[in-house]
Symmetry: C3
Subunit: 480 residues, 3 copies
């Protein structure tokens, strides 16, 4: 993507091993499959990137300031990286992760980087390792393998790059040919950075996504603060369920006004159940008094998923559901460092019975769209593909989180394509396997696979998320 | 199978793309595996088809009338097809599925066919798509790809074929070289069509299978009607559990008299538990009064599975158990169109603890045989293969329903062969993978794989289902 | 491993088929993958075997007597073999398995062997079949395929070999180049054979492993006998929880004194929960009175896992947890023949919530190490890899029991490597797949795969189990 840069070090790392990415990287070793894969890849490669779900901050692009130094850019904020280092006995302090109390002093970023580099070989065979090699090579032009000896050199090299205008956030956005990037934003977020982006005249499309989870977790100690934020942004008190619902409607409208096409919801268990309004109100009252229990929250969340679906029918926002992560499994780590420190662990998840009330109520409605994500692969073939292969409102989101890897994506497609067809999935922005495999087995031919590959890489994401100018119908390819 | 027929359209579909099925279709792209696969396939290909479980109506062969026009033959009765079209936003009315009230008028079959053809590309990568291409090419001699442009032509072509004597049900049965075909029949069914078939002098072997599920679902509103049917066919009132049991014994005997070798049972959860007779009688009394609850039904079903096993020990009928489908998940669809409209969704299923009472009571008895089917692949390696690799009575049925596909069959064999051995499975009438793979890995050699392939394609199905003339012992192949 | 021996029979088995093991046995048929696999295999092949978990009796090596005749050596004690024969309708009596009452007379070993040989073809495609072929060929030098015709000849051949000094247990131990072999021993075991081995002057390293399960199953009828054994070996009465705990500490110390580096724990469900000491004592008192219920046992086991972890922090013994087998599923078989007759069946197992108390209490402690084993593959990617990829104390044990097979090992690596990295696993002593695959896909290169293969075959097992002289840090390979 970026022009290669000669960076063979001449100092202490002179004996360093060159970093080379094989031209057949990630391609199947079988020549028949590889030939098909290459053909499909060449055709989909020039397509722009559609990124309908992510965690990039809008402020990054609104402010367009240079990225921080390499350790703060690559290591400290990435739980995929620090969780593995932590599992291998390296303390989070040593990696520069601040404690909640702020008691631990700041770390020298170069020391953090060297520690990372010395253990970098432990990422071999992981998607993080594969992506980092790609990033070092293609984005930063590094040409030596990262290890203890080359750490300093690579650090310097990346730092230099980050200082140049070509590495400013907007410049990278454009070079990566991102057509749409969607952020994730709390319901009470004022979306100032999104407003600033629109006002700036910059042409990149960055859309907000409405994520009200925190408002539905009524048993959490921080819930009252979340409610206060909602009251503040709405400018009026919220003391009953009617006002709560009206505020959510208003916020959705506000998000839509800034281009949002979707909402996002994260739950441990995807229960759905409609409660009478009086009961929802009683739960809310208990929460306002600080008395809501875990069971109360579970019922409230189940009800609010029904409500969010109902509102989606009305306002057209695509509803995303991410289920199955037990958050902050490691209590001592959460107490010391706060939430989101690489200790979210999946649990077995049930969809068939849990989603029945919601799908029975809204799943047949052409105005509704629900995109499902799971961390429990056992549900791919057993529950998700059959559900998506029946309900018109349902699409399967791509392999998520721990499963967003070469093997994980392959398993996702092998277990969902036959029952759901690729056309009931939201695509997968990165390269995909099933067309290659079926073509190589001659079940479909290459001509037919071409529009499938294009759909997976581009069209399905746009169509699923109702993104601007995504109204071109899917092409059937050869023969039509 | 059928001689190819030149059918290149000269009308509007003139620009149509030829339909060709590659000679290596479904074969592994790896030459080493493909070579083995070809050798095994050539040997098993001439074997007749053993079809011990299916849903073909005996009336079809008894009456031997021409099949209806293409839409009524291929689309309207096939939930694999209309579920996927429905999931893509096409209404069931538009596909000619009648509502329960009959309020919706009849559809022009050609319009249905055109709609199907226009969306046919969405079946790419699904087993339905693979089978349809096969059927169009080999059974009907179609030589153009089906799409919106060729819809009319293909419709005409199939219609013509269906009008010829070669496409009558019995003619196809013979051409397909079906050695045995088993139907599925309600316990109270008089089996008139089976009697007619026997009386007709036609040589094809068509056997009934005893499926009494409807009589065990005592909480369903239609249960009393089912009981009345049983009373009618038995010619005496059934007012207590003793009479109920006697009626079932009599019906099994009647089915056996018409050649049945098996029974079939479908449950959501495979619970098994013997109740005292008085308790079974109390449940039946409640059902007769129309007062049985869902919990009552669950206990009654668990008990009746034990009873069915007990009777199988006595009369030798092979017991099949299909577990794990939540039927008619989509309530609005069920209300409008009735049951079985493509909305059956699997649930996680437990076998180890659930089947323990039944297997402890009958699983060591050489007279008993139980064939297990699952929709929950997570149980293949974890529960089913270990159970089948121990209990003499147990055989694993082939990959079922959503899993009856190329990837699904492969997963079934990869997860069951090592622990259960292929000899504790009922085979898989269509081509099978594990011998090819292990041969290509040189764990067994081609000579040893030959009898395995033959067992999988033919002998195991006959032996498992105790089919006529199936008493030849399995061959061990090379060296004996 | 052993020099091939010409053993073509000239008698009745003259027409026998030669037994040959292909030089590419178990290697991938794809030439690109095979080339990598061969390179890695050649490098790891000379490494000694590390066997940190097993069920070889120390007495075998302490006494170093000749092995018994082939049937008693190979068939009667191996539930992998007799379970499959039993599943195919062969009675356990016919295989020489004694009943508990001893009522059934002794069987002629040659008759048992012939029965086994006649059904040997049913093991094709199973790991047992693959291993047996290997053992016959490489260990015993057999050069004809085993079947009904060659049974007698092979029996004679093996018998002769077993009579020679080269086939004594210690001689085989040395030829197999076993560096460490760990046995499994009850907590109350006096370890006399381990003492004898140390006293013998023989150089082989054989270590005990502390397995106190029987003492925690307080609802079992045999529990009081186990407690009495513990009292006897400790030389003092154990009448309260304090004394019970002290006895366990003393036994661990005794095991450590004889070289133990690990403990082992088997549970059906891996629940962990710390109870107040008074409650643990109350449970123990109920057990002493013979009144403990199944629920009592479950709570006691959950508590004792916490205690075992606490003691491991203190004494450094590596804790192993094997979860998920429902033991002796076949009650009639257990009643007639006793436990462990091939009827242990896995159940779905939950780790994320069950292990949370234990991991929260000890999982962040660098002194603690827990090695997890599962029979439920659905947990590999969903629960185990995420847990091992976070908690420093956790390592994943290799694919276990039914999954300890070619396909099973492949699935283990495909589902754990990406999230946990190979460095959070305990390796797998036999050949391993992931490096080959990723190398063939060019995600990592061969130079980098070399230290990974070595780690998997040797170093990780030594490091995980804190085995003697295992303190060499893992190598990162190329470039450092």
């Amino acid at each position: 993507m970026f022009p290669p840069v000669s960076t063979v070090p001449t100092g202490p790392g002179a004996a360093a091993v060159p970093l080379e990415l094989h031209e057949d990287r990630c391609f199947d070793p079988d020549p028949a499959i590889r030939r098909v894969a290459r053909a499909l890849y060449e055709e989909t490669r020039p397509l722009p990137l559609i990124c309908p779900h992510g965690h990039v901050e809008a402020s990054l692009l609104a402010e367009n300031r240079p990225f921080p130094e390499p350790a703060a850019l690559i290591i400290t904020p990435d739980h995929y990286i620090f969780r593995l280092l932590y599992s291998q006995g390296i303390s989070l302090e040593a990696l520069g992760i601040p404690t909640r109390s702020g008691a631990v002093g700041k770390r020298d970023p170069r020391r953090i980087w060297r520690l990372f580099a010395a253990h970098y070989f432990k990422f071999r065979g992981t998607p993080t390792g594969a992506w980092l090699d790609y990033e070092l090579y293609h984005v930063f032009g590094v040409r030596v393998q990262l290890n203890a000896d080359t750490a300093e050199h690579v650090y310097e090299h990346i730092s230099e790059r980050l200082a140049s205008p070509e590495y400013l956030p907007r410049a990278l956005f454009e070079r990566f040919r991102i057509e749409v990037l969607t952020t994730t934003d709390a319901a009470a977020d004022g979306l100032e950075h999104h407003r600033a982006l629109r006002a700036s005249g910059w042409q990149g499309t960055v859309l907000p996504c409405f994520r009200p989870d925190a408002l539905f977790r009524i048993a959490r100690p921080e819930w009252l603060r979340e409610l206060a934020r909602l009251e503040a942004v709405c400018g009026s008190p919220i003391r009953d369920y009617g006002a709560f619902g009206a505020a959510l409607v208003a916020r959705r409208e506000y998000f839509r006004g800034l281009g949002a096409t979707s909402t996002d919801h994260g739950v441990e268990e995807p229960r759905t159940e409609r409660l009478p309004d009086e009961e929802a109100d009683a739960l809310l009252q208990r929460a306002i008094r600080g008395e809501a229990s875990a069971a109360d929250q579970q019922r409230f969340e189940a009800h609010m998923l029904m409500e969010m679906a109902r509102l989606s029918v009305a306002d057209g926002l695509v509803m995303q559901l991410h289920a199955g992560a037990l958050r902050d499994h490691n209590e001592p780590i959460r107490e010391r460092y706060g939430p989101d420190k690489g200790a979210d662990i999946p649990v077995a998840t049930e969809y068939t019975r849990n989603l029945r009330p919601l799908l029975n109520a809204y799943g047949n409605d052409p105005r509704f769209r629900l995109v499902l994500f799971t961390l429990d692969e056992a549900t791919y073939a057993r529950e998700l593909a059959p559900l998506a292969g029946h309900y018109p409102a349902l699409r399967l989101g791509p392999a998520w989180w721990f499963n967003d890897s070469i093997e994980g994506m392959r398993r996702f497609r092998q277990r969902t394509t036959e029952t759901a067809s690729i056309y009931n999935t939201a695509g997968q922005p990165v390269g995909d396997h099933p067309p290659r495999q079926v073509v190589a087995h001659h079940v479909i031919d290459l001509e037919d696979a071409r529009p499938m590959a294009r759909a997976l890489a581009y069209e399905l994401a746009k169509e699923t998320y109702r993104l601007p100018a995504g109204d071109r119908p899917l092409q059937s390819g050869g023969g039509t």
